[in-house]
């Protein structure tokens, strides 16, 4: 895991890239309005949605109950990857790229989804997901850095990784992360 050299430089680099990302990326891509609050101040850059033309590699991810078929993903800094994700399990699973802190707060959100009936262990209730949680937040999973899949379904994510970050890919369905359904993203500079 590449180490960050100094606090100041990190913050400078991050704020520059955040401003850069906000200027260049369409609004929905970086963080959908619904989840804006949940991630608080963007203290770490996780990358951006990528363009199909920039894809250098395809990585197939298989979801099973309750684990991914790989423990680590190795990518080069700035590389754009096409992820082909398939749920071969009998339960709903998520594939989500982010920091450990983001996953932790997302787990709380997904717990709330289950408690409100938007998510069963093996089914997603799309209609309940659109429910307004108050202050404009919904439970829709329309972030570009994650997909939530029912058994048997597939999806794709094209993602451009940043130069430097401590990232994990994870399933944040209640209990799955703790059971080991997560892995590290190794960024090679």
């Amino acid at each position: 895991m590449p180490n960050v050299k100094s606090n100041f430089l990190t913050r400078l680099a991050l704020s520059t890239s955040v401003i850069g990302a906000l200027m260049t990326a369409p609004l929905a891509a970086f963080a959908s309005p619904g989840h804006g609050q949940g991630h608080g101040s963007v203290a770490a850059e996780i990358g951006t949605p990528g363009k199909a033309a920039d894809v250098t590699r395809t990585i197939k991810i298989v979801m099973e109950d309750n684990f991914f078929d790989m423990e680590t993903i190795e990518v080069s800094a700035g590389e754009t990857i096409l992820f082909q994700i398939e749920n071969k399990g009998e339960f709903v699973h998520e594939f989500n790229i982010g920091t450990a802190a983001m996953h932790a707060s997302h787990q709380k959100e997904m717990m709330m989804m289950m408690e409100h009936g938007a998510l069963d262990v093996d089914k997603i209730h799309m209609d309940k997901m659109k429910m307004d949680m108050g202050n404009g937040m919904t439970m829709e999973h329309d972030d570009p850095n994650s997909v939530l899949l029912e058994p048997g379904k597939t999806a794709e994510i094209i993602w451009t990784f940043p130069a430097d970050a401590e990232l994990e890919f994870a399933c944040n369905v209640p209990g799955h992360y703790e059971s080991g359904m997560m892995g590290k993203v190794r960024l090679k500079s």
Binding site: D65, F67, M112, H116, S179, G180
Partner: protein
Amino acid sequence: MKINYIKGVLAGALAMAALSTGSQAATYDLTVDYVTIDTGDTKTTGIGYNGASPGPTLRFREGEEAVINVTNNLKEATSIHWHGLILPYQMDGVPGISFPGIEPGETFTYRIPVKQSGTYWFHSHSGFQEPDGAYGSIIIEPEKREPFKFDREYVVVLKDKHPHSGDRILRNLKMMPDYYNRKQRTLGDFIDDVGKNGLGATLSERGDWGSMRMMRTDIEDVQGFVGLINGMSPDQNWTGLFKPEERVRLRFINASAMTYFDVRIPGLEMTVVQADGNNVQPVKVDEFRISVAETYDVIVQPKDDRAYPIFAESMGRSGYAFATLAPREGMQAEMPELRTESPMLTMADMGMAHGDMGHGDMAGMNHGAAATDSGSQGSMPGMDHSNMGMGEKADPFYAAGSGLVPVAANGGKFLSYGDLKAQKPLYAERPATREIELRLTGNMERYSWSINGVKYEDAEPIRLKYGERVRFKFVNETMMTHPMHLHGMWSILDTGQGKWNPVKHTISINPGTTVYSETEVDEPGEWAFHCHLSYHMATGMFRKVVVEGGPTVTQLGNGN
């Protein structure tokens, strides 16, 4: 030796398995011996396996045939029951039901086709050999990958080791039922209560309980034990090693004779992944209550380079067990603050205890507090919709207003039966073909326990038909919690989750509650069905179950 005890035992067991012929069968040799049990404070003579108590951890593989040769070196008959294992009934190890028992000097060979995986345990089913130390653990490796990952694992077996032998304890209980109940209310308590509630109210309340010959602190029949973890007392400090960031699987087994424990690891959240050997949908908790004979497998991920305490306080708070999880040898975790205040039973807990209580006059009883619950099915699971998703949810497996409801020491989440959901249902869902009511009854004054008011020796067996799905209705008419265990077949606990109801072998029934479980009757033969509190089982809270019909059972005997 102590710290690497588990590793050594596992290595030994693996070596034994490797030496056996072929990969289809694993052979174990067990001897049943008199052993010295040294808890640091007391040294007693007890019973163990292969010269030690607890006995070894047996390791089987799903799909193989396990062959266990048991040689009895005692001066009395013995037996071994494989708790939670599905097997031919002649291999179940209950003298008088499965087989005649193993005589002194005899070697009996068990042959068990292993059709399951998970954490289980084994123990003697003769006399009070199990309370005296005859217990050990079983790990069954699964054929397919488990739905959770871990980097290392430990068996954590809890025991309530008493300085008195089991025979002596029962003699004392028969003579004086509160012989071992130390937490009685004192004059000082009376004065405090008068100060709080006034003289009239206090006298009336004392009178209510007195007229029932009950004590509100009567939660544990047998106090005065030392809590052991893997055979070691708190001072002896069993230690399991880990590397920070590793996922550690802890296989908790409560092998106690009489004691429920509330288990926590301050500083670590536990993710429960198995209950009674069956995978459950993972649930994160801070603390859980483990009944006698139950097992829970949890995953923890210690991240700091420090020692964490594994702490188990008895439900009645009269004793505790303690061990350490550490990154290096030679460390001892800090002892958490003890909760010494005993829970107090309330009138809600006696909601259904109108039966034989050894006295005639019920006039003085105040039903006010139990009004919401007495006679009703208020304790049925799944009925409490009032607090959906917000705030505290009342645990539906305790009577409303019960004094036994557990609260996590750190104010966090305490596991409830309502949180247990099967990861993968074992049986297709279908309606039960009939219901059998089992009232859990007893007379505290005579220390005599029973089912439907009838003791084992006076009772007819429960007859089930092969192929039916029977629904058991447990009605607890006593003031105590009873862990009910059906041998040989799974109990599907009704937690209101339909097809996700968890599958267990031991179900704890709290006072004043009614609990339902269903069993697919798919194993021929004769099976024991009893409360797993040793002295309740011995005085009559026991039944034989006879399964009629089904495939003819061949006469399996010793090692055939």
